[in-house]
Symmetry: D2
Subunit: 343 residues, 4 copies
C-alpha cells in the first residue's frame, strides 16, 4: 500500500483528496495535516466521515512526511513552497496543488504570484496535466498540479493548438465556475445571499490563471500566444464549463473536428468527446472526466468548444491522484472511475 | 387612465406585465385574456395577487380589445400575428412581445420562424428597443418588443457599432440566462432536478435570436455583419448577463471607452454605466435597468463588455411598458423605477 | 413629508428599509447611518441604488437624529439600547428592530440577552405586532419591532389562542427560514457551499425567539404557556414558513377554523387566509403579507397551521414601516402594497 | 457474480440503482428494462454513463428476468404488481421499490392505493427496512422496499417505540424532502421556476406515506397508533430531514436518550447517532447512512428527533441493494460505503 500524507487537509481540496483516496485500493492515508484543526478528529469537523474514517488532524511534523510515500500539498501558493521543498529533500513523490510549481517561466510566475523561494525547483517539476505531460510527470520529482480553469481550457484547446488549426491570437476562453473553486472561505462575497440567484464575471482580463493557460498553450502551439480569459461565478457548488472560441485557419466542419479530437485523445480514458449534443456540468460533476463538445460557426469560420470538468476532481484532487497513479506506475484509472450523481 | 388589455396573460411574461402595470399610475388593466384559464380568478392560479387584484381571466373576445387603449400581446410567435392584426385594424396601440414584428427583413424572419401571414405589417411596425429606436416607436402603429438576449446584446454593443470602433466580424456574444426566459413550461429539461446545480450551453451557432441581433447590429454599424452568439442556461430564475467580445479598430483604454458609453447613453435613465467594478445579475433583477461594464484586454486590443438585464423586465414586460410610455407621451420612467430586492 | 433616519443602515434589514421607504409617498430619508461605511455613497456598496438614491452613509451624530421625525434602529441587540434612548430623549418616534424593546418581562429578556441598561423604557415601549397591538403602538413612545419567527408564529396562532381553542401546552412550532434572517454576515456556516443543497435544524429547544413567542402567546391565551420551537435553515434567500401544530380543545373542522380566522382578521389587509390550498413562500416573498392556511388532522384532533412571511419585510423592515404608518396616523397600507415577483 | 435486472430502469430510482450497482463488487447488471427508452444506449439518455456502462435499454421480456438472479422493480405502484408476480413465479429474488408490497394490512393499502391484484403475495413479502426486519427479509420471497419518508421516520422513532418511551398519540413527523423524491417528471409544479427559492407543505394530513408509517410504528409500539405526518418540498435535489416530536412517558435527558439509541442500533453500520450537534442533509446525501440527532425540550418533556437520509439511496436504491445483500448473505455494507460529496 502507498502511504499518503496530505498537508492542508481541512480545506475543500484537502477533504476531497481524503474522500477520493478512501476509494483508492492501493492507498492508505498515513496522516492528515492541518494546523488550524490539530488534534481534532475529522468526524468532528466533517461529520460525513463518521464511521468511515477514524483519523485526527495533526500539526505539521517532518516525521509525518518521512513515513509517507507520497505527499499531497493542498496549501495556498507561497506557503506551499517550504513544504514541497522539505518533502523533495526527503526524496518523496510530491504533488503540489498550489500554483507554485506549475510554471516553467519564472517571470510569468513572479508577475502574478511574487517571488519564488526555490526557483531552481521549477526545473525539477513537471506540469501535472496528465493527458499532455505524462512522460515528463513520470520523470520529474515534483508535480505541479494544474489549476482548475487551465485544466478545462488547455484540454479543450490542445488538439487545435497541436495541429495548428486556429489563428494564433484569436482564442477567447469564457469560463464559468462553481463556488467551491474559491476554496473554503468565510468571505462575504461567497456568502449564500450574495451568490444565490446571482451571476457575475470577475478578474476580467487579469485573472492569474491567464498566464498559466498562456504558457501551456504557447508550448502546445509552438510559439508564444496571447489569449483572453474571462472567469465567471456560477451559483452552483461544483463544476467548470468553459466556452472557448477561436478562428479556424482552414475550413473544417464539426464532424471533421470531432474526428481530430477523437484521434488526439484516442487512448485517454478521462476525455469524453461528444459526437451528438453538448456536455453539461451535471454529467461530469463528481467525476474525473473532461467532457468536450464542439460546434462550428460557419459564417465566421469560428470553432466553439465546450469543455466541462469538476473543479475539485479533474481540476484538483482527482487529477492529483491521477498524477500519483502515473508516478507509481499504476493504471491511471485506479480509484477514479465513478459516475456522477447529478440528481 | 389608459386602459390596457393583455392577451396571453397567464404566462410568465403576461403575469409580469400585470404585476408591473399595477404599479403604473396612469394605467388601468381592462382585461386579462387567457383561453386556457378562462373564467378563473387570477388569485386562484396566482395567489400572489390575493387582495391586490380582483380580475378573472377571459377568453379572447374582440370587444375586450375594443374597450382597450393599448393591447399587449404575450403570445408565442406565429399565434401572435392574428391578434396583432385585429388590434391594428381597430387602431389600437399594439405592443407585441413575440418575435413576429421585430424584423425589417422578411427573409431573416422566415428563415428562423417560417411564413409570416401579414408581411406588409412589418412596415408599420417599429423595433421596440427604446433607447435606440425611440423616434420610430413614436410614429409606428405596432411595436415589436425586442427579445431578451437581443436587448442585452444590442445595448451592450451600440456605442461601439455606431462609432465604428470594432472590427466588423469580430463580435462574440456569450450570454447566460435564467430559466424564466424559457417561459412557463412543463418541459422535463426545465425541471428542478435537471437545472439545479447544472449549467449548459444550448442552441450554439443556431439560436433564433442570432438573426434578430445581427439585423439590428448591422443597422447600427451601417453594413451587414455576422456575429457568434452562444446562449447558456443558468440555475437562477431571472436575469441575463452577456459577456461580449470584439476587436477594437484603434487603441482605446477602459476609461476612454467608458466616456464614449456615458456620452452615448447620456440621457438614458435605464442605462447604468459602471465606472468601477462590473455589473452583476443581482443588481438588475427586479428592475428595468441595463447595467453595463467594460474591460479592455490590451494585449489583444479586445474590448470585453458585460451587459446585464432582467429578462422578464427590460427583456420583456418592462420594456413593453416603456414602449407604452413612449407611445402615450408619458415620462418613460413612469411606473418603472424600482430597486431590485437582491437578498 | 416625514423625515426618516436609519441607524445601522448597511445591514440587510437597513438596506431593505431604504428600499421600501423609497416607495413610500409620505417619507423622505434624511440620513443613513453606518459607521463601518461612513462617507461612502450607497451606490458604491450597493449598486442596485445607482441612479435611484444619491445618499452617503454617515457616522452617527446626534444632529442627524434631531432633524428626523422617525428613527429606525437596525442594530444588534444590546448595541441598540443607547441609540434608542437618545432618540427617545429627543422625543422622536423610535422603531427598534432589535430584540431590546420587545419584552414586557425583564427576566425573560435578561435570561436570553443579558443585562438591559434601560429597563424602565420597557414600560414606554409597545410590541410592534401591528395586527394585535395596534392601540398600544399608537400610544407608546418606542416600538419594539417583532422578530421574524415570532411574527409568523404568533399571527398564525392568535385566533386559536384568543378563542382558547387549543390545549395549553400542546403547541409545536416547526419553522423554516431563508438565510437573510441571519443578517449580513461572513460566517463560514452561511457561505454558499455550506448552505446550498443543504437543510438543517439549529438552536433546537434553545433559540432566543422562543421566549419572545412564549411571552406574547401567553398574553393572548390569558395564562402562561410553554411551547416547542424548532428553527431550520432553508437554502433560499428570503421567507419563513412555520408549520404549527396544536391539539384542539373541541372538535372543529377545517372550514369552521377558516371562518374563525377570517373573522379574527376581518379588517386586516396584510393577513390572507387561504380557503383552498396552502400558502407557499413564493407567494409572500417581496411583500408585507402574512399568508395563513389550515388543516385538521381529525384522528388526532390536531390543527396544523401554515404561516408564511417574508422575514425581511413583514418580519422586519415592512412591519417597521407599518408601525410608522400607525404612529403617524397614515393608512397602514401606505407604501407597502406590492405583489411578489416569485419567478 | 449476481446477475441483476432492473425494471423501470430509466427513472431517477432506476438510474440510481444502476449507478450504485456499478460499484458493487459482486453484481453484474444483466439487463436494464425501460419500454419508453427501448433500444437506446444508456449513454445517450444519460451521458454521465459514457465510457462507464455500455448497455442499452430493453423492452420487457420474460427471458430477461429468467437470466437474472435478482430483479429490482422500480415501477409505479399498481403497475409493479404484474412484474413482481412474474419474477416471483420464476423463483427470483424480487425487490420491489413501489408501495405494492410494503403493507401487511390489505385494507390500509387499498384505502390509499386501490385494489391489489395479488393480495396473497403480501404474506410472502417482507418490509425491507433492513435494520428492523432483517430476519423476515432473509426468509421472504419478495421484499417491499420502504418509502423514503417512512425510512427516515420509522428509524428515527424505533428506539422510542420499542422501549415504550413515548405517549401513544403524541407523535408528529414534520418532514422536508428534496425534489428527486417526486421522481423523474415534467410536472409544472416541479419546474425550476416554481421550486427554486420556494418552500411549501403538501399532502398535509393526507399523504399516502402516513399509513405506511402508522402500520410499522404500530407494530413496533405493540398497539395501534395514529400520528401526524406533514411533508414539505425543499429546493434541493436530494435528501430528507424529518423533525419528529413526541411526548416522553418519563423524564429522560438528552444523554440518556442518546445511550438508548446507541444501544438499540449498536450493530447497525448505517445508523449514525450524533452525540454532539445535529445531523444536516449535506452529511448524508450521496450515502446510505441514516443520521440521527436528539434534543429534549424539558419544559414540555418532549423529545425532538432529527433524522436525515438520502431519499434516493437509503430511501430507495441503496436500501434495495442492502436488502439484496441480506438476501444473498453478503456483508450488508458491500458496495454501499461512500462518503458524501457535500461541497
Amino acid at each position: 500500500m502507498i502511504k499518503a500524507s496530505i498537508i492542508g487537509a481541512s480545506g475543500y481540496v484537502g477533504i476531497e483528496l481524503i474522500r477520493l483516496l478512501l476509494k483508492h485500493p492501493e492507498v492508505e492515508i498515513s496522516s492528515i495535516i492541518s494546523s488550524s484543526n490539530k488534534d481534532i478528529p475529522i468526524e468532528k469537523t466533517n461529520p460525513q466521515f463518521k464511521k468511515i474514517l477514524n483519523l485526527t488532524f495533526k500539526e505539521f511534523d517532518i516525521d509525518l512526511i518521512k513515513e509517507a510515500d507520497v505527499v499531497f500539498c493542498a496549501l495556498p501558493h507561497g506557503v506551499s513552497q517550504e513544504y514541497v521543498k522539505m518533502a523533495y529533500d526527503l526524496g518523496k513523490v510530491v504533488i503540489d496543488l498550489s500554483s507554485d510549481f506549475r510554471y516553467k517561466d519564472l517571470s510569468r510566475y513572479s508577475k502574478d504570484y511574487g517571488e519564488h523561494k526555490y526557483p531552481q525547483l521549477l526545473n525539477e517539476s513537471s506540469y501535472g496535466l496528465c493527458e499532455i505531460y505524462r512522460e515528463e510527470i513520470k520523470s520529474s520529482k515534483i508535480v505541479g498540479n494544474p489549476g482548475c480553469y487551465p485544466t478545462s481550457a488547455i484540454l479543450g484547446l490542445a488538439p487545435l493548438l497541436k495541429n495548428k488549426l486556429i489563428q494564433k491570437d484569436s482564442i477567447i476562453i469564457d469560463s464559468k465556475s462553481g463556488v467551491s473553486g474559491a476554496g473554503k472561505k468565510s468571505d462575504f462575497s461567497y456568502s449564500f445571499c450574495e451568490v444565490d440567484e446571482n451571476f457575475k464575471a470577475y478578474g476580467v482580463a487579469k485573472h492569474r490563471h491567464t498566464s498559466e493557460i498562456e504558457e501551456k498553450c504557447s508550448f502546445l502551439f509552438g510559439e508564444d500566444l496571447n489569449l483572453s480569459f474571462t472567469p465567471h461565478l456560477l451559483p452552483v457548488k461544483r463544476g467548470i464549463l468553459s466556452t472557448i472560441y477561436a478562428t479556424l485557419t482552414k475550413s473544417l466542419n464539426k464532424n471533421e473536428l470531432i474526428e481530430i479530437y477523437k484521434e488526439f485523445y484516442r487512448d485517454e480514458f478521462f476525455i469524453r468527446i461528444y459526437e451528438d449534443g453538448l456536455p453539461e456540468l451535471k454529467y461530469v460533476t463528481g467525476t474525473n472526466f473532461v467532457d468536450i463538445g464542439l460546434k462550428v460557426d460557419k459564417k465566421a469560420n469560428r470553432v466553439i468548444v465546450i469543455s466541462c470538468i469538476d473543479n475539485l476532481i479533474k481540476g484538483a484532487a482527482g487529477q492529483a491522484i491521477q498524477n500519483m497513479n502515473i508516478k507509481f506506475s499504476l493504471n491511471e484509472k485506479t480509484g477514479l472511475v465513478t459516475v456522477g450523481e447529478y440528481f
